[in-house]
């Protein structure tokens, strides 16, 4: 059964390729949300297996969205992987892939690395 992934990122071009590449693996169904303000509503609505969440977005930053997701019963169990353009690869590439207890992936990211991470977080 394919995993259901919600991608929240304001970069439309980036999410276009991300959706294509993830779905090309045959393992995932991907829904993209380019509006940070709609992220919570979409998550409640879709109940994905995993959320890929951009940190730096206009309006609501990714961390705030993640915090709010933890407060709703429908979404609090959904695992989150942050996407960031600012964390160094060697930091995210440490054993746990965690910083401050949360999973990170640095852009630009190769799709097979991202897949490894998704499988680790949501086996």
């Amino acid at each position: 059964m394919k995993k259901y992934i919600l991608v929240v990122d304001d970069e439309v071009d980036f999410t276009f390729f991300l959706k294509k590449n993830l779905e090309a693996t045959g393992k995932y169904d991907v829904v993209v949300c380019n509006e940070a303000a709609q992220a919570i509503q979409r998550a409640k609505q879709l109940r994905p297996n995993l959320i890929l969440l951009d940190i730096m977005m206009p309006g609501t930053p990714g961390e705030e969205i993640a915090t709010e997701l933890k407060t709703h019963t429908e979404t609090k169990a959904i695992p989150v992987i942050f996407l960031t353009a600012l964390v160094r690869q060697e930091e995210t590439a440490d054993k746990s892939h965690k910083i401050g207890g949360q999973y990170f992936v640095a852009k630009p990211v190769k799709i097979d690395e991202l897949v490894k991470m998704i499988e680790k977080v949501s086996p």
């Binding site: 970069e11 294509k20 600012l86 690869q89 630009p108």
Partner: protein, 516 residues
């Protein structure tokens, strides 16, 4: 003793000395004058009386001679015998009268013996004169010539006695007078000597007091000069119970206050140097912070498109016909460029957020040898020979080993790049003391082409590179410097074109096994 009492005492000593000598001298002179006056008071009437006695007695004898019809006296007038007798009587009475006077005077002067002799001679003369003039019982049986000669004998004896008495009195008077003179002279000499002595004493006392006044003042003035040169720990050793002692005490107190409130020049210079260093660090860290903010912005703006490109390349890769090798190569080149751009941006981000230091104790030789091993295994050395020299003694570093190794690796790779046709790379360690702190100095020296002096100053600037083929990002040295400075260390470079370049990393160190 206060200054006033010191001065008072010296004046008192001089005044008392001179005064005492003066009074003693006046007293002594007065006494001697009194003694002399008393003696003269007795001697003068005696001399007058003796003179009168002599004159009267001789008058009496001459009158007796005339009355006896003897040779007429000088003079034109022949005197009658009765008149002569009368004159003789008068002279005799006068002689007796003065003998009485002399008797009295001699009794007061204690001259009774001499008075007796004079009286005896005078009475003998009177007896002979009477015998000649009147031819009484005593003259019986003797011729007038015999009596006259007897009178003359008596007259001579009397004259001799009275003359010698007068002479004795006069001699005594002279003697007394010269004795008084001698005494006065002696008194004057003694007085002069005493006055001289007291003047000397006063001068000595004056010198002593001036000394006790001047010495501490000179000492104080010297001490003030020493303190004036900045030796604020100096104190005066002047101790005295007078006003100068109080001054010295106040002086020391003042110096102590000054020392408490004044920072020494050396401390000030040190603080200034520290301040300058801190300011430079602040400027540097502010520059870094600004660069960091800038880098973060650039990174975000660049990484997103890089992400899109990479995503696009991977997407296209899945859609390419398997046989289109050229297209695959093209995609490979694009992906390589994405990674290259990503590397530069990652390097930039090292400025934005220097990683947390994970420090551990490590020996300098371990760090150096480990880095040399990395370089050797990586095959980067080519035709370069490497040598190490360790002279850091007991120094031990407490550093983030990975980061410092990254710095050393960066320096060594730069060195190798500077010697494309071979050369020697020397890594040396020294123990150093910089700013009074123990340190370890690691030098990486090459025998390469060297760096022109106008470029040396810019070496640590971000994006500055001397690598002509644009092999480097120009960030290696500036990141190295940031890492070393975040360890509290410093970096420097010295170079000579054609001779080579030496980079130095100075890191704080401690003695091996010392407590952190």
């Amino acid at each position: 003793m206060t200054l006033n009492s010191k001065l008072g005492l010296s004046f008192l000593v001089v005044a008392l000395g001179v005064g005492t000598v003066g009074v003693a001298w006046v007293q002594r002179a007065t006494i001697m004058k009194g003694q002399f006056d008393e003696f003269a008071n007795l001697t003068t009437p005696a001399l007058v009386a003796l003179g009168q006695i002599k004159a009267a007695s001789l008058e009496m004898a001459m009158a007796s001679d005339r009355a006896s019809g003897g040779e007429p006296p000088d003079g034109p007038v022949q005197e009658p015998a009765a008149a002569s007798k009368q004159a003789m009587e008068q002279a005799r009475a006068k002689s007796l009268e003065w003998l009485m006077v002399y008797h009295g005077v001699a009794a007061r002067a204690g001259d009774q013996k001499l008075a007796g002799v004079v009286e005896q001679a005078a009475s003998a003369l009177t007896e002979r004169a009477t015998a000649l003039a009147e031819g009484g019982t005593q003259a019986a049986g003797r011729s007038i010539g015999v009596r006259r000669s007897e009178l003359h004998d008596a007259e001579r004896i009397f004259a001799r006695i009275i003359d010698s008495a007068i002479a004795a009195k006069v001699a005594k008077l002279k003697q007394e007078r010269s004795a008084v003179g001698r005494s006065v002279n002696r008194a004057v000499r003694l007085s002069l000597a005493a006055v001289g002595l007291f003047v000397l004493l006063a001068v000595a006392l004056g010198v002593f007091i001036a000394g006790t006044l001047a010495r501490p003042i000179i000492k104080l003035s010297n001490d003030a000069r020493i303190i004036g040169t900045g030796e604020l720990a100096h104190r005066t050793t002047v101790r005295s119970n007078d006003e100068i002692g109080t001054l010295a005490q106040t002086f020391n107190q003042m110096t102590e206050n000054l020392e408490r409130t004044t920072v020494s020049k050396a401390a000030l210079e040190k603080a200034y140097a520290e301040l300058q260093r801190t300011q430079q660090q602040l400027v540097q860290s502010e520059k870094l912070a600004a660069l960091g903010r800038f880098s973060a912005g650039v990174a975000h703006e660049v990484k997103n498109p890089l992400g899109i490109i990479l995503g696009g390349v991977e997407f296209l890769g899945t859609r390419l016909p398997a046989a289109d090798e050229d297209a695959k190569t093209a995609l490979g080149l694009i992906e390589k460029s994405v990674h290259r751009a990503d590397t530069i941006v990652r390097d930039l981000l090292k400025f934005a957020r220097p990683s947390q230091l994970k420090t551990e104790r490590v020996a300098p030789e371990e760090l150096v040898n480990g880095t040399v091993a990395l370089l050797t295994y990586g095959g980067a050395l080519k035709q370069v020979s490497v040598s190490t020299r360790f002279a850091h003694g007991e120094a031990e570093l407490e550093v983030d080993k990975n980061q410092i190794q990254q710095v050393l690796l960066n320096l060594m790779m730069n060195a190798v790049d500077a010697m494309p046709s071979g050369g020697s790379l020397t890594i040396s360690t020294f123990s150093s003391v910089g700013d009074g702190r123990p340190g370890c100095r690691i030098e990486v020296a090459d025998t390469g082409e060297g760096i022109a002096s106008e470029q040396l100053g810019r070496l640590f600037e971000p994006f500055f590179t001397t690598k002509r083929d644009k092999k480097g990002t120009g960030l290696g040295l500036s990141i190295s410097k940031t890492i070393v400075e975040s360890h509290g260390g410093a970096m420097s470079v010295a170079s000579e074109v054609g001779m080579g370049t030496t980079f130095a990393v100075i890191l704080p160190a401690r003695a091996k096994g010392g407590r952190g």
